[in-house]
Symmetry: C2
Subunit: 173 residues, 2 copies
């Protein structure tokens, strides 16, 4: 939970620097409020591998980034912007030392995924998510979406990556 | 190349502690020499995600561990020993800082895969690889297998993981 708080704090710190173009989800005007991904896309754990990631600072997180078939095809063919139907999943875990591996190596050098911390999704639907660059963002802890107000920081951070259609992760060969 | 040398050195250091039960591949007796995996299994880049790994020490490596359908089924069902037909792939990259991500976060905290360094495979065939615990080991750099004498260190290191059929990597949920 501490980790999540730090993650949100880090993302919010970045968000604070940039104007958030979509209206706040706290507004009564439902029609123009940004839409978020509040249901976990089916079958994501069977998707193909895009890349891995490791965040230090206050996060100490390990991630696997997976993509559905539309995402993988777009990555491999270099298609930008990503087509509607693309979904990218980031599975986050604690980044922890592996005592059993270190014993084999005879020194402290191995890190493995610890407990899962959260799963994040980016779903491309240029109509539904027009207010946030065509991407719907989702952030799940223990299978449940975090409250919408906390997901408002996803877009302004990702909006900085204009050259790759708001997607930070590059494809690992 | 330096990284590979370190990796091999680390593995050999472990290997030196344990007796290698299979005959050396340098022997003229071909029939009893251990067999290695010298051809990259087709389609491995489309396999499902098992876990991620990060080695420091002298390696500075980032890995994605993927499995074919037989491997994934066995992992998910907790089947041990792994059945014949199981293949586990470890895709290794340099573990490098991401300047572009650090700029967004406003501090040095992000690490991503750099250049690919090697790919390693474990192929289960209890007949063909009987001399090495039922597993064939493969180690590829730039798509080419390293020389057999260098693959001789894989088995004695993995042989230490008796409780999980010689496989170090655990399944990430």
């Amino acid at each position: 939970m501490k980790r999540i708080t730090f993650l949100l704090a880090a993302v919010l710190a970045v968000a604070a620097v940039f104007a958030f173009r979509a209206p706040s989800s706290g507004r009564a005007d439902q029609a123009s409020a940004p839409a978020f991904v509040t249901k976990i896309p089916a079958g994501y754990r069977n998707w193909k591998f895009i890349s891995v990631a490791h965040e230090e600072g206050n996060l100490h997180s390990f991630a696997a980034v997976l993509g559905n078939d539309v995402a993988i095809k777009a990555y491999r063919e270099g298609t930008l912007p990503f087509p509607d139907g693309t979904i990218v999943a980031a599975l986050h875990y604690q980044h922890v030392p592996s005592e059993e591996n270190n014993k084999v190596f005879g020194q402290a050098q191995s890190f493995v995924p610890g407990a899962p911390t959260n799963i994040q999704f980016m779903v491309k639907d240029s109509t539904k998510y027009a207010a946030t660059g065509g991407w719907g963002f989702g952030f799940f802890i223990n299978g449940k979406p975090v409250e919408a107000s906390k997901m408002g920081s996803c877009y302004p951070c990702h909006a900085q990556e204009k050259s790759r259609d708001l997607v930070f992760t590059r494809y690992a060969p």
